[in-house]
Each structure stands twice: as structure tokens, then as C-alpha cells.
Subunit: 198 residues, 2 copies
């Protein structure tokens, strides 16, 4: 088999992370999710929690940071993290087949031919229910929390890629995990990976 | 098996029609494509070519028609066709499992639970090449023709559904037929239909 990278972009609460891990387990290839954040922390010296937050701040916050928090050639901390993130994603993609969850990996690797770009989405009610049931979220207003996360992820993606998050043409396959089911999403993507990489 | 409808929304030149026909053949269920147009013609008394054109006119043309071509309770001819089309799509969906290609069937049947909503897209270069090779299009500028068709389909969909054509959340599964291949798209959708309908 050739090297092939699966990027999983996903809406908060859609099960995209679970799907990514299950695909990687089934195929016996690495899954990079939290690991990317750990690598960024290692390379930047920044705290992992801080790095997680940088992928969800609003454009307003970026603007404030841009004037207050210069670290790297005139760029702010988020831009510094972004550059390290791009570098790490490129490195892990060069190492061999893997699954990369989130972190705009679809965009970072957009000019490669050996990338299967996946988008996982689901209705907002399904996702609000799931973050309580599966993630153990204790927020009293899960629907509001999902909406806020959606806005922040979209703003982050838009800011760094100049594309819309969830724009259908950016993905080889997009699945509604709420209607199709998490396990079936895994089966479809594993099967497609094998077909394209056969 | 229960009744289940597969709606195929597709970009011009993406092979969505071919995919729809192959799915229907494999599953042994009817495929409604041109047949919807024939049924509209039969019910409305309008010419089939005219009906085809009504799904691709621009909003500008609708505006002109709105003032010049009243037939039906103050609506124009396109609105008249739209109402008949909605009625026919609902009727064929009530008759049993089938594939319906285009005609905004995903929107018309959006409140039903037994619908698998599919979107087929592909890069514009793939589509421009395909319309010459497969459809036998003789236009000297296939890229321009694809772009025009995209604009017209999007305008039609937007006008009648008040949604964007290709909005990822409107579909259970979206596939890039250029990257995945027509035959594999068929396999994936047939398999998913069987899974959901098993």
C-alpha cells in the first residue's frame, strides 16, 4: 500500500474524533489528535491548554492579541502556533499513512494527492445530546455550547484558510454521523481508504 | 425492506445521473430522472424541453416571466411547473423505494425520515472534460458551459428552496465523484442504502 493520509474535519459533538480513532485502529495506522497539540507544546514551549484554546478564539480576540502579544517576526501567539502546527502536520504526513483529526489538516495538505479529506457533521440536537452523554459535558445549556463551538471553529478555519468550514467542495466525502451512525461512518471510510489505496 | 427514497443532487458533469441509474439498477428500484419531466409534461400540457429549461433559468428571467406569463393563480409558468413537480415527487415517493435525480427532491422530501440524501460533486476540470467525453457535448468552451450551468442550478435551487445548493448539512452523504470514481460512489451508496434499510 502507498502512503495515504485521512484528514477528519468535524463539527463539535459529531463523533469525528471517535471515528478517526476507530479508523486508525482498524487500519493499524497512527491517529493524530491530541498528539498534534503535544507536539506543538513541545516545539513551542507553550502550555497544551493554551494551544487548545488558540483554535477556538474569536476573530475579535485575535485582533486584541495582534496588538498585545508579539512573539515571532511580528506575528502574534496564535500565528506562531499556526506555523508550528502546519510544520508538524506536514512532518507527520511525510512519515506515512495516518489519520489527522482537526487542526485544519485538510487545508494544510490540500496540494497533496494522497489525502482522503473527510467531513463529519450532524444535526445540532444530536450533537448537543451527544456531548452530554458521551463526552460527559456538564454544561446546563449544551445546545448553546455547541453553537458557540461551531462559531469559534468556523472563525478559526476562516481566519487561517480563507475558506468556509464545511464547504462541500473541500472534502472527498462528507457524512452525517447522526443519520448514518458512528460505526457505519467508520466502515465507509475504511473501505474507501482501502479502495483508493489498493 | 422498508420503503426508502434516495435523492441525488448533483453538479453538472459530475456523473450524478449515471450514479443514480446504476444504484437503481443494482437495487432493482425505479430511477426517476427524465421520467419526472415526462410526468410534469403530461400533467401540465407543457413541452418537455420547456420544462427542462425552467430548472435552469436565471432569477432575472423569472422576474421577466413573473410579469409576462401568468397562468396559475397569479404565479408564473415556472411556479406552475414547480407545484406540479412537488406533487409528482411526493406521489412517486409514496409509491415505494426509488431513486430521484435532481429536481430539488431533497428539499421536497426534507420532512420525511425514510430519505437518503446524496450530493455528488467534482472539480470543475473533471466535469468540463466529462461533458465532452461522455455526454458528447460539442460546446467549444466546456469550462464556461459548466460554470454557467452551476450558476443556473444554484439560482433555481436558491429561488425555490431558500437554501444554498450544495450546503453540506442538507445531505446525509456527499461524494467527490472525480476523486472517488463513479463506480465506487455507486457501491458506497448501495451499501449505505442496504445498511439503513436492513
Amino acid at each position: 500500500m502507498k502512503n495515504m493520509i485521512i484528514t477528519i474535519s468535524r463539527e463539535f459533538g459529531s463523533g469525528g474524533r471517535t471515528i478517526g480513532k476507530q479508523i486508525a485502529n482498524t487500519l493499524g495506522i497512527p491517529c493524530y489528535d491530541e498528539e498534534i497539540i503535544n507536539k506543538i507544546a513541545h516545539e513551542s514551549g507553550l502550555d497544551t491548554n493554551y494551544i487548545k484554546e488558540t483554535s477556538e478564539v474569536s476573530e475579535h480576540n485575535w485582533l486584541l492579541n495582534a496588538f498585545s502579544n508579539h512573539l515571532y517576526h511580528g506575528n502574534n501567539v496564535q500565528d506562531y502556533v499556526w506555523l508550528i502546527q502546519c510544520d508538524i502536520i506536514t512532518k507527520v504526513a511525510n512519515e506515512g499513512s495516518c489519520v489527522i483529526v482537526g487542526r485544519c489538516a485538510d487545508y494544510v495538505l490540500k496540494d497533496r494527492s494522497n489525502v482522503l479529506k473527510v467531513f463529519i457533521h450532524a444535526d445540532i440536537d444530536f450533537r448537543a445530546k451527544r456531548i452530554v452523554e458521551v463526552y460527559g459535558e456538564t454544561d446546563e445549556k449544551p445546545l448553546k455550547r455547541v453553537k458557540e463551538k461551531d462559531k469559534k471553529r468556523a472563525a478559526y478555519y476562516r481566519y487561517y484558510t480563507e475558506n468556509d468550514f464545511g464547504e462541500i467542495h473541500n472534502y472527498d466525502i462528507a457524512l452525517n454521523s447522526g443519520n448514518i451512525g458512528i460505526d457505519k461512518c467508520v466502515d465507509i471510510i475504511v473501505d474507501l481508504y482501502k479502495h483508493l489505496n489498493g
